[in-house]
Structure formats: structure tokens, C-alpha cells
Symmetry: C2
């Protein structure tokens, strides 16, 4: 057995992954030199750097992030908790987060709460155990107690909420201006000549639905129209729920001439019912939804909807995390990023003029 190295230990005899120690032995330098060369430290000569890098490539050296993270006390992992990953909204936000994170050298661990606060708590523990550098979360629908977020603060891990957040504004968050979006959509319906505009309202303990309802009321007020409680339906935002709400509205002595729904799926349910009953959309009843889901372009007529800037939301959430990292006392800061919604006007609400391309 011819020893290539003059040192006592064989350089990585087994199939074990090659470490910095292996590189050091092979080159006859110290681990410090290797470490610094690879991280482009200024105190290493260009020649040495070159040599180290070449050998690293040749031996197929892969840095062990785990070890680095353990040593530094922080990993390059960030945790993301969403109610569920299916459906356009969260998938798209996660896409935005992941893209931004990867550019900055972070990887994303994804967790689903399944709309259950118990899972949400477990997810948080998992992420903290994984020593993530930060946590980005959209809370589950039944999260009304927020004690579990305190623990994250105590660990000093930056916490960013997006879209859905706990009550009270003392958190870091990226949200859409839901109120403004809802107001725009409702005003648009009013501009089309509608005067009895109904609203499908979502669960009011969630900030997003509360704000959409408020935006709806804002628009009415700006037109001097008193809100009619019989035109505001509590809706679970499913297709069936939308159909049921529409049926109730049609049964009123004085039915609406437009509906603004806090979600797209529900407004699709309404559309289907109207078509079944031979009621014309938008001539008899104009429709507008919220989220700009893919289905808005499949339904006939195409559905007017408020876009939630999902990609931007993801990117902004990561950026906020990133800012918190470098900021002082970040664990107790409370920055809010508010994105501006965009109304897409389509045939379901357009009584005059042509449909925009």
C-alpha cells in the first residue's frame, strides 16, 4: 500500500464524504486555511485559494451545512408554515418565498398546519429544533390563541406573518391591502350602475375577511348608500356555500343587482346558480370576486376579481425576514408591509364598454 500522504491517517480511506480535514491533509496545510480559502477570506493568498479550490473540486468536496450551522448557531434554513400548500394562493406565495430565499442562499422547509392550530404548534417546535434562521407563517383558521408565537420570540428567531395574522398589530407582517381591494371592486360594481350590491363575507375573526367586509362598506358609504344587512351573507367561501348564499339573496323581496364576494370559488357557485335560473350576468346581476384564481378565466363569463400579488407577497415576506436579521432588537419589532391589490375587470361585471384584453 503506497501512502500518498506523509501523515499518519489515511486521507478518507472509506467512502465517507470528504471533509475539510481531508483537504487539509492532502494539501499539507491547516484546516483554518482550508476554511478561510473556501469562504474567500482576505487573509489567504490567491495561490493557496486557487489550490484549495481545485482540490475541493477534484475530490468532490461538499460543505456540511449542518456542521457550519451548529458551530455558528444559525442555519441557512428558513421555515414556512401554511394552512395547506394546494390551491393557487399559498402555492404561489411559497413560490415567491422560495425563489427569493434561494437567491440569498437559504433553503425553505415547508410545513402544513392543515388549518389546525395544534399542528401549527407542532410545526413551530419542529422548526425551532431544526434551528431555522427564521419562520414565515400564515396562521390557521382556528388560531385564536397566540401564546405559541411567544416561544419563537424567546428563541430570538425572526418571525414574519403573511396574509393571515394574529389579532393586534404588534407583529412583523406582509399583508395585502384587503380593505382597499374590496373597496375598489365594490366601487367598480357601483360605477357599473348597480345599486343593491350584496356581499359574501368570510369568517370575521380573520383579518383578511374583516378588512374585505370593511372595504365593501367603505365603497357603499362613498356612494352614500346605507348598508343593508340582509345583503351581507356569511359564507364559508366554498362553491356550495356561494350557491346557497346566492339562492338566499334571490329569495329576498328586493334581490341584489350585484354581488361582491370575499373569495372566487364562492362567486363561481353564485354564477352557476344564476345561469341555471336563466338570470343574466352581468346584465341582471353583476359579479366580482377576490383572489384572481385561475378559474376566473375559465368561467363564462370570465370573472372580475381582485389580484392578491401572491408572488410579491412571498418575496416581501422573505425580504422582511432578511431585514430583521440585520436589524437591532428584531425579535420585538413590528414592521408591516402592505401590498396594493389590483382589480382585474372582466365580463362578469362589465355592463358598458368592452372587456379588457
Amino acid at each position: 500500500m503506497a501512502a500518498r500522504s506523509t501523515l499518519s491517517k489515511e486521507p478518507n480511506a472509506a467512502g465517507r464524504p470528504v471533509s475539510m480535514a481531508d483537504l487539509a491533509r492532502e494539501l499539507g496545510v491547516s484546516m483554518t486555511t482550508i476554511s478561510r480559502a473556501l469562504s474567500d477570506h482576505h487573509s489567504i493568498g490567491p495561490a493557496t485559494k486557487q489550490a484549495v479550490r481545485q482540490l475541493a473540486k477534484k475530490l468532490n468536496y461538499q460543505p456540511n451545512h449542518l456542521a457550519a450551522a451548529l458551530r455558528k448557531g444559525k442555519s441557512t434554513l428558513i421555515g414556512v408554515i401554511v394552512p395547506y400548500i394546494e390551491g393557487r394562493f399559498f402555492a404561489s406565495v411559497v413560490h415567491g418565498i422560495e425563489t427569493a430565499a434561494r437567491k440569498a442562499g437559504y433553503s425553505v422547509i415547508i410545513c402544513q398546519s392543515g388549518e389546525d392550530v395544534a399542528n401549527e404548534r407542532r410545526n413551530l417546535e419542529t422548526l425551532l429544533s431544526a434551528q431555522v434562521a427564521g419562520i414565515l407563517i400564515s396562521v390557521s383558521i382556528n388560531t385564536t390563541d397566540f401564546k405559541h408565537f411567544e416561544k419563537v420570540r424567546r428563541h430570538g428567531v425572526p418571525l414574519v406573518f403573511f396574509d393571515r395574522l394574529p389579532e393586534g398589530d404588534n407583529v412583523n407582517a406582509v399583508v395585502l391591502n384587503d380593505r382597499e381591494g374590496a373597496c375598489q371592486a365594490t366601487r367598480h360594481l357601483l360605477e357599473q350602475g348597480c345599486r343593491r350590491v350584496a356581499h359574501f363575507a368570510g369568517a370575521q375573526h380573520l383579518n383578511i375577511y374583516k378588512n374585505r367586509r370593511q372595504g365593501y362598506l367603505d365603497a357603499l358609504q362613498s356612494y352614500g348608500i346605507a348598508p343593508d344587512e340582509s345583503l351581507i351573507k356569511n359564507c364559508s367561501m366554498t362553491l356550495e356555500s356561494g350557491t346557497a348564499c346566492m339562492a338566499e339573496l334571490l329569495a329576498l323581496p328586493n334581490p341584489p343587482d350585484a354581488v361582491f364576494s370575499a373569495g372566487d370559488t364562492a362567486i363561481l357557485g353564485a354564477l352557476q346558480l344564476l345561469k341555471n335560473r336563466g338570470i343574466r350576468v352581468p346584465q341582471d346581476v353583476a359579479l366580482a370576486g377576490f383572489s384572481n384564481e385561475a378559474l376566473t378565466l375559465v368561467a363564462e363569463p370570465n370573472l372580475t376579481s381582485v389580484d392578491q400579488r401572491t408572488e410579491e407577497m412571498g418575496q416581501a415576506a422573505f425580504r422582511l425576514f432578511s431585514d430583521l436579521l440585520t436589524a437591532e432588537g428584531a425579535a420585538f419589532s413590528q414592521r408591516q408591509v402592505v401590498l396594493q391589490p389590483q382589480l382585474f375587470v372582466r365580463a362578469s361585471s362589465l355592463r358598458h364598454g368592452s372587456v379588457p384584453a
Copy 2:
């Protein structure tokens, strides 16, 4: 300052996370005992176990997965690489993977290749650096060179492909029986009395599209119908592409009376064109797609489609990984799990009888 402990070092004076050493000091036992008590080792007395657990809870001890993983050489992280996370298919598979993984105590790191093999390579490096216990991947559309997967094998990290896989069957994979699904869909169209069934074919270097095309041909053959190349269109599976392909088919001297598309979005494009031209669906042209996307239930008429068992695919992929972990020589095994597709018949293809509920 009253010292609670008789040992020299203060137990976790600073706000630093509490470690096993802290627990050991506090209880006056060794770290070994703590470690074993927490992992429920048989050699620890029930009383000691109880005491350790209580203290751990009281002091809010969080295990450091990083350290454990470093020591054990394997983490409880698994990496998943998909072309993109948006869209029902991959989001749903990821959902299945994440759910199965979490039950087994694993967390999921998600990476997107953006349909680019260069990113795919980078993703693999990242995951290997993170010391993941396994990698689950659906290759990007331009992956034709498979050398980068060799490295994963050399690291001894189990590798599972799902849906899209490299050419050659020498890999671990979970796939849908695309050929069977396509055959079922086409046979269904033939059973409805259609005799000139066209096909929108996807990129033929991908196993999934090649197999769907083959299934289409199988069905024709079983009916003794010779394939007509003019009825097979290369399609990129976008809406526009579907519209364009349909237009070309209608321009034929002898146009088709049915279309089976390897994707749902393209068949929607076809549907829209047919409706614009006043051609009846399914009476004049019957339509069937593949993937059972949400849009199949929004389009009018509802679209017949082949369901890909996305959740099961995710679960099966994780299970396969899990099996490989315990198996011998897993790095070089090549197990294949094949899921059976399910055809959902809807109005777009149903010429006789009523639409199923």
C-alpha cells in the same frame, strides 16, 4: 446571588437555548442519562426518565436536531425537487409527501428547478450539503443528461423519482400508469361512437407523454383502427397551444370527431375554440383530457379527464424512500411503484346516458 447548583458553571445563565448539559447540571446526573432518558432508552429507570422529562418540559428544552444529525451523520430532513410548486399537480404531490413525512418524523425541504436542469443540479448540491436523509425528485423538462444523479448515489442518499423520470428504468420511482390511463380515456371516446379520435401529444422525451401517446395508440389498435398521423398533434400543453392544434385539426379535409389530450389545459383551449365556432361538444366533437385539474369542473361542459392520484403518489414516494432506508444496497436498487389512474367521465365526452354525479 444564590447558586441553585453546586457545580462550577452556572446553568444557562444567558438567554441561550437550554441544552442537555443544562438539564444534566440541574438534575445532578450525566448527559448520557439525559440523552437516554429523552430517547426512551431501556437502560434508564422509570423514575429517572420521569424526572428528566419533567425538567425538560419545565425548562422548555428543545432538542437540537442539527447536533443530532451531525453526530449521527443523517438528518431528519428530506429534500423534494419539483419543476415548480404552483399548479395543482405538484402542489398536491408535495402535500402528500409532506403529510407522510411529518407522520414519520421528517421535515421537507422544497426546491424548485423552474424546469431548468442547471437549477436542478444546484438544488441537488444544496440538499446534499444539508445532509438530507433522502431526495425525491420530478425532473425538469430539459433534463436529458443524468450524470448529476450519480453523485447522489455516491453519497449513499436514497433517491426516488416521481412522475417524471430519466430514461432507462434503472431507478427507484413512483409513476402513474400513464399508458393505461390514456388507453382508458381513448377507449371511452371510442365507446361513445367516435371513430376519428385525435391526440394532443406532449414532449416525447418525457416518459409521461410518451406513455400517454402509446396508450392512445393501444386503444385504437384494440378497436382495429389504424393510427392517422394527421390526427396526432405536437402540443406544448398550454391553452394557446390547444387552441392552435384544434384549429389545425378542423382544417383537415376529414376532421376528427373526438380529441384526447395529454393535458387538461390544452383541451380547454380546444373547447373554447369549438364553442366559438358553434361546434357542439360532445355531439360533434367529444373531448377528454389528462390530470383532472380543477378547471375540468369549471369548464362548460365539464371536462372528462384522467386523475393522476396525486396524493397517493406523494405518499408512495415517501414510503419508497422509507423502504430504501432500511433496505440493503438501496443506493443501487431500482424499485418501481405504479399507480392506477382513474378516468372521470363528464359531459364533454358523454354522448349517451346521463352525466355521472
